[in-house]
């Protein structure tokens, strides 16, 4: 680590995050609000057809206020589909991020506690999953197990588990040799208690930063797989599948894919910016 921090970090002093991060936070808050309030704010049902107004253009490209982001080939409102897609994609990404963090952290702590053969097996699995492109594995698993949403979320949850496992194991081994862990162990605490109540809270900040870094990757994976037609299946809709279907109408109705594409990019960008900022702020060792 380069020792180039010139002025000591101002502790306790609350400073406003940089403008880009602030923008990211606002955008993310907006997306969260949309995802939570989706059924309330949606102008139409995302499956409602309006066959008189098929492929109608958005406002500004010759459309009407009735469908101000336009409609698709079946006259379904793009805004309604976008709102429903945001809800779907964010739900999947949240679920998968949490599953990945849980699996990875559990295995990492297990390896740190058990050592020996268990640790070697965990490390071997870590090597294995770090060395194969996840998209290829996911493709193979997905099409052969069918397309249930639950399975899809669990599958995406396997993405990046090895990163949490590696971090959790390393930090837990380091923490285990520190005074506080030895002290509670001396007081007769069970290993479970030592790891979950004492070591985990001390390494949580690093794990949370890793989660914010994995989150946009999962959004990209989900939208990529859905784009290929192998993720979220109709009638459900996600940001990626909207882009995938919109691609058929690229020349006649580009607005179908432009709005979900825009949301994907802005959302991943926001989370990345926030993640980088958090990393610099909370954990300088994670560069």
């Amino acid at each position: 680590m380069s020792a180039t921090t010139l002025n000591p970090p101002a502790r306790r002093a609350w400073r406003l995050p940089p403008p880009l991060v602030l923008f990211g936070l606002c955008w993310l808050a907006l997306m969260l609000a949309v995802a939570i309030l989706a059924p309330v704010i949606t102008p139409y049902s995302y499956t409602a057809l309006d066959l008189r107004n098929r492929l109608s253009a958005p406002v500004g490209m010759g459309g009407t206020m009735a469908h101000w982001l336009g409609t698709d080939e079946l006259g379904r409102d793009v805004l309604a589909r976008l709102i429903s897609s945001i809800r779907m994609s964010l739900t999947i990404a949240f679920g998968a991020t949490i599953i990945g963090a849980l699996i990875g952290t559990t295995l990492g702590l297990l390896a740190a506690w058990a050592r020996g053969i268990v640790e070697q097996i965990v490390l071997m699995l870590v090597d294995f999953s770090a060395s194969i492109p996840f998209l290829i594995l996911a493709l193979a698993v997905l099409a052969f197990f069918g397309n249930s949403i639950v399975l899809f979320v669990c599958l995406l949850g396997l993405h990046a588990w090895e990163r949490y496992a590696r971090i959790a194991r390393g930090l837990a081994i380091a923490a285990g040799s520190q005074g506080y862990a030895a002290a509670v162990r001396q007081l007769g605490a069970s290993p479970m208690r030592v790891y979950l109540l004492h070591i985990l809270p001390n390494i949580a900040s690093t794990l949370i930063v890793s989660m914010t870094l994995a989150f946009p990757e999962i959004i990209l994976l989900e939208s990529g797989l859905s784009f290929l037609g192998l993720g979220v299946q109709p009638p459900e809709t996600s940001l990626g599948s909207m882009v995938g279907y919109g691609r058929e109408y690229l020349t006649r109705a580009p607005w179908i894919l432009l709005s979900p594409a825009f949301v994907i990019v802005l959302t991943t960008l926001s989370v990345s910016l926030i993640g980088d900022w958090l990393r610099d702020k909370l954990d300088p060792t994670l560069r």
Binding site: D127, S131, I136, L139, V141, F144
Partner: protein
């Protein structure tokens, strides 16, 4: 060095073994391919005949041992769709994929590394900020969005380039650019942080203090040291020469390995999927192995096992 290589080879072999087992388990246990290929209303005798022809009526263990055995003899099974050897089907797609991924790799290296070094040397300048902004954008824009935007602008609006297919070299421009930009962004970001890390080291100060020209300090002292972490990511890019274009090939209807994989997965063509999986993991493992060798060449400490001075 010999022990190091032997250990690495063992681990590489183990990884491939794990992939084979994983592929076999997932693909065989997830459904009955005979029913899927023949359709639900196929006559039972026909399904039975299909099963015994493909060895699907044996126990899973027998199938597995037979599969591993046939891999060693170079037989990767036949496509269940048209009966041709899966290995041949995959092999004939490899040139098309490499025709995209190799130029894209050149683009990544040619753009990413110089941009990263320049940004590090002119830290906080306008160009540095610009490079970092483009790098973050390149990292967060998914390849299918970038590809479709390029199609929208250069094929639909301007009409300069074709939007898909593989008839001429002009068809390759948009997919190569799509692949290259994202990778160049990642590489620029990585190179920049590696260079910044190195430029803060005492030996750089020493070198410039004793009067070595700055140009020589950068090319002789900073760049070689910054190359070590950068080699890892280049190795990963080398490993994804086969697998890295799945989405882009689909966007541009390019008949490569990735497209074959997507179609085979949709058709549940087990032999082809396993073959691609094996090919991809093999290239990844070879690339990782090469990275380790390159480490040995760039960093003498790793070769001799000696500890560094700083």
């Amino acid at each position: 060095m010999v022990r190091f290589l032997a250990w690495r080879s063992l681990r590489a072999f183990l990884t491939i073994f794990l992939v084979v087992t994983f592929a076999f388990l997932v693909l065989r246990l997830s459904g009955d391919p005979a029913q899927i290929i023949m359709g639900a209303d196929a006559p039972p005798e026909a399904v039975e005949a299909f099963r015994s022809a493909w060895g699907l009526d044996r126990s899973v263990w027998e199938q597995y041992l037979g599969y591993v055995g046939s891999i060693f003899t170079g037989d990767l099974g036949r496509s269940m769709r048209d009966g041709r050897p899966a290995a041949a089907l995959v092999a004939e797609r490899i040139p098309a994929t490499l025709a995209l991924t190799i130029p894209a790799l050149m683009l990544k290296l040619g753009l990413g590394i110089p941009a990263g070094i320049y940004a590090a040397l002119h830290r906080n300048s306008v160009i540095d900020r610009l490079v970092m902004l483009v790098a973050v954008a390149g990292f967060t824009i998914p390849s299918f969005v970038l590809g479709l935007l390029l199609v929208l602008v250069f094929a639909v609006q301007l009409g300069w380039l074709p939007s898909g297919g593989q008839e001429s070299w002009r068809h390759a421009i948009l997919p190569v650019v799509t692949l290259g930009i994202g990778g160049a962004a990642v590489l620029a970001r990585f190179t920049r942080s590696a260079m910044l890390e190195v430029l803060g080291q005492p030996y750089i100060r020493t070198a410039s203090a004793k009067g070595v020209p700055w140009r020589r300090v950068v090319s002789g002292h900073a760049a070689p040291n910054a190359a070590i972490p950068t080699v890892t990511i280049i190795g990963f890019m080398l490993g994804s020469l086969i697998a890295g274009a799945v989405v882009v090939e689909s966007v541009f209807s390019w008949p490569g390995v990735g497209r074959l994989m997507v179609v085979a997965v949709a058709n549940r063509d087990l032999a082809v999927v396993q073959c691609v999986l094996l090919l991809v993991s093999f290239t990844m493992v070879v690339a990782n192995f090469l990275v380790d060798l390159a480490y040995g060449l760039i960093d003498p400490r790793l070769r001799t096992g000696a500890q560094g001075g700083h």
